[in-house]
Symmetry: C2
Subunit: 433 residues, 2 copies
């Protein structure tokens, strides 16, 4: 067990009921449990879902240290971390003080059923960073519970000769904490769904790995045509997670296209013009050889509806990635999706009832995947895409950059205000500026 | 083109607004379009979803000939049927007068995108049998539109040496028209879902066919344990479709279990004791060597909740098959399902809004598959299971039989009344008695 610095630190703190951000001096966190690590923060992100608490929508009645996106360096480890801990998740025996680490936005133990099977955001010990009982990353130091399951060590990866991401900027690696994996998750839920499989494979529904090709003639339809293998996907919402979803989707579609001869078209939709301009710049920056055999359109809502109809010969989108988290986005997704299509919804939805009748979902054979990204399980895939797409994720403040600026805590209050009003893009805090 | 009998026939007819069943003499249908066939009905089923019209819940304001489940013999074919029609679905060149055929409950052309890809119930020409514009199967003769795409010919299969189902009883083959494929569809949507895949394969989420095994260490959780590969599935609703879903699910689980070493437990839930007794008798009748490595429980609602908790060590069901079609069944399914679980809903839902808030579906990472079974595309798989499970589907009126009785049209009015009150099981009509 190693000992973190003692004394005080600066942190961005929120006070109820709403809109009250203060930068305060608070104690540096200490090891409380043997599985804890203390991380010195290099960068912490301001995320769209921080705004739910900021606006007072989460019924939180106590003050808290903000933030659930962080990258940093391990400065202290609890007693559980030692070379003999080989019966536990790998990092309990390999994590070292000085390692560069990224954390998902929730704690995951790595040892319960949900962690083992990859649904890490529903770990039985799951806790969100940035709530009263678990101070967040917008500070100089943060305590990470169940750190051998929760953290991802870039230093350990490099030391094992696996992937060396040490030359990648911290502002790029910070995107692993939430928004890039969440975007990938949105795309992956669509591309893995059995209702999309016939388009990807060219074999009609209900083919499946565990159903052998039948000796019985289908005696039914004519065979699939080239037009049946054109995949139309809409992305609804082009905030930072929507950009990550779009970039990841295009990357995966290009891979599948090259492997399997698939054609695709993607329609990225947002009513906000500055967000549309950002996505156009991002697309222009992507190396064209990675785009596969597809088309890409950025559109307002009305333009988007028309493009989806046109691209799909009136059938509608095979899948819609809903990256907003409100009922108007869900309704638009329903309107865009074709019968037997899928809505992959990763927006953080609140209290209102889902805006569909039983008749609507039955009559369109709609499938839905709702919920939070299991970020910890997505890290390996997310790092692959992050390294491939440094053209988008590598820089700060350029036309095609996802991250708009890096500021100190002195600008925290103003940054929350601007971000809340949609007047700035993705902001990161450097707590040492 | 051949010519059907002329003259009149007897048919079961419904009059608005509700509960008004009359057996009437009406004209024998004739070929209206070149793609039509006329089928002489051998048996027609009375289905749970016939009750939506019967009770006046479908806003139908004209009288109609009832029924959407039928098996029969082709007595006339339109001009499209000839040996040279080889550019169209197979049956346009192979179907013959005299063939034994079964029809799905909706028309499907076999030539549009939705048919080619296997989503036949959303054919662009889809029409339900048993509505004012398309007379149903509870008659002596029925007109089948787009018959080369819609029908399934058991005679053609046997003639091609593929599968000879000619010795199977008509009452058994009638189940292919709707309820057996619908039950299979409920089970298949669950077993094909990517959130269930880790349990079936033993590889943690988000593994996928098109994502190569990464060179990057997961660095995360400990490996899957035996307990992670125990699949808990609940069936909510044990009417005739629920019985078909249960039997199909057990059949597929046994196959997967033998292939992949999976353990499973199935909890079949219904508040109605006589339905529970039927399912217990059905299970007892199934050849035990086909059951694989699993357990099976029939339970009331409260018992079912307890069994699912117990069988899953408190996690909840990996998947719930919702075979009822109302909001109390959907709510029960939500309560039973575990985080990252799936609700496969094949019940025919009506106007009420889906009973979940955005927060509920987000917080549990629930996936839903809603909608109608693409029966035409499921025929080959359904026939395989029908032939394997003659112990359940082969007889009439025995303890383990799905079909309770076969009656003539003179008993049609009373049968609707009894079925509406839940006082009888599956009834078939023989229009020639």
């Amino acid at each position: 067990m190693s000992i973190p610095p003692s004394g005080t630190q600066r942190a961005v703190r929120w006070y109820p009921p709403a809109y009250d951000i203060r930068v305060e001096t608070v104690p540096i966190p200490q090891i409380l449990e043997p599985d804890d690590a203390i991380v010195m923060i290099k960068l912490a992100g301001l995320c769209g879902s921080d705004l739910h608490i900021y606006r007072g929508h989460e019924d939180v009645d106590a003050d808290l240290t903000c933030g659930h996106e962080l990258i940093g360096e391990v400065v202290a480890l609890g007693a559980s971390f030692h070379p003999g801990a080989t019966d536990r998740p790998e990092l309990y025996s390999t994590l070292r003080v000085g390692d560069k680490v990224v954390s998902p936005f929730t704690v995951s133990c790595g040892e319960c059923h949900f962690c083992r099977i990859g649904f890490t955001c529903r770990c039985i010990h799951s806790t969100l960073f940035g709530i009263p009982k678990l101070p967040g990353g917008q500070a100089q130091y943060t305590r990470i519970p169940k750190a051998g399951g929760t953290l991802f060590s870039l230093s350990a990866l490099a030391a094992q000769g696996k992937v060396d991401a040490t030359s990648v900027s911290d502002s790029s690696l910070l995107l692993l904490a939430d928004i890039l994996p969440t975007g990938i998750f949105a795309a992956l839920q669509a591309l893995q769904h059995p209702k999309i499989l016939p388009v990807l494979t060219g074999r009609a529904y209900p083919t499946s790995g565990f159903i052998p090709d039948s000796a019985i003639s289908g005696q039914g339809a004519t065979t699939l045509q080239r037009a049946d293998r054109v995949l139309t996907i809409a992305v609804v919402g082009l905030g930072p997670v929507g950009v990550c979803a779009t970039v990841s989707l295009l990357d995966m579609l290009a891979t599948i296209g090259v492997q399997q001869g698939l054609e695709y078209n993607v329609v990225a939709i947002d009513p906000n013009e500055s967000r549309r301009r950002k996505v156009e710049a991002v697309y222009a920056a992507i190396d064209t050889t990675s785009k596969g055999s597809g088309s890409f359109t950025v559109a307002s809502i009305d333009e988007g509806k028309q493009m989806v109809q046109k691209n799909s010969n009136g059938a509608g989108a095979n899948a819609v990635l809903e990256v907003v988290g409100n009922n108007s986005a869900l309704k638009l997704a329903y309107e865009l999706v074709r019968p037997f299509g899928l809505i992959s919804s990763v927006g953080v939805h609140q209290e209102p009832p889902i805006p569909f009748t039983g008749r609507e979902v039955y009559d369109k054979n709609v499938s839905f995947d709702f919920g939070r990204c299991p970020v910890r399980a997505m890290f390996p895939l997310a790092l692959e895409i992050l390294l491939k797409r440094q053209d988008v994720f590598g820089a700060v403040g350029e036309e095609a950059s996802l991250v708009e600026k890096i500021v100190g805590f002195d600008e925290a209050k103003e940054s929350y205000e601007l971000f809340d009003k949609g007047e700035c893009g993705k902001v990161l805090f450097n707590p040492w500026l």
